[in-house]
Amino acid sequence: MKVTLKIKRFNPEKDEKPWWAEYAVEAEPTDRLLDALNAVKWYQDGTLSYRRSCAHGICGSDAMLINGSNALACKALLKNLGDTITVEPMRGFRVVKDLMVDLEPFFDKYKQVKPYFITYSVTPEKERLQSPPERERFDDTTKCILCGACTTSCPSFWANPEYVGPAAIVNAHRFIFDSRDEGREERLEILNHRDGVWRCRTIFNCVEACPRGINVTRAIGEVKQALMYRKL
């Protein structure tokens, strides 16, 4: 099949503003958008820039705006995308070049929520045991690959770049509800401000965008509830 890629390109060193480039690519319906992007970069225009690493939907490098929705280029099959596919960088972050955005602010927010085990009790001699239901409690949010699709699909984040964003809350949730972790209180305190969980307006864009199928809005809701029950 023949597909046309309409790619929003921008080189801050040369271009005053973004512009649309069109590339015709011959591909199989079962190819992924990433294959088509590679075909462009390798055989048509080597100046096209995008991130990709594992190409199997687990490293989270190639999240981009595909036909108006955030998705991973390596998980989007051409047969589901139509004959003309628009590809843009994720919204809300500074474009470094073409489809690459500056994710430093994204990882700053991620670090804010202390995304690592915190323990204050005496370290046991063996591993810290956890029952299957205790593990199940936060299973959904362990799936995050930090691709940024949820945060950059969030209108609340577009309007307020200071908002900690769904991805950081998901990663806070992963530890807040982990029975082995002891940093629950400090994480909740970090999220209990205007630009923390309370900036979430339950728009659900994050749920649609997440390539891992995480119920992001639910996770944010659970953090809000945890905050509420802590106070009441």
Partner: protein, 126 residues
Amino acid sequence: MNGAARARPESGVELYAWLFMRVSGLALLFLALGHLLIMHVIHNVETIDYQFVAHRFMTPFWRTYDLVMLWLALLHGLNGARTMIEDYVGARGWRVFSLASLYILGFIFLALGSLVILTFQPVGTS
């Protein structure tokens, strides 16, 4: 933006605002539906006049009903508008101006409405 490991504890106003929206929303669902039922389904709009309201306000129950609905609906709406202003009015000057206007207007409406409901004296009703 330097946001790494920045803790910014707040008094929890947003938490209570969030909780208020849920509780008042739930209460308003019944209050407003009841209001709609009485004013538009059970009684025809044309039959609702001064006499009707005066008669209704003779019982403390309906005054309380209307007072609770007024406060919940107005505060619920005000908080929604506050949220929108805080989300989308970025310039500090405009934000302060919009919020100040909102609070002043809200206070005036709340005071006027409460005044009417609490001090209304039926005149010339049988």
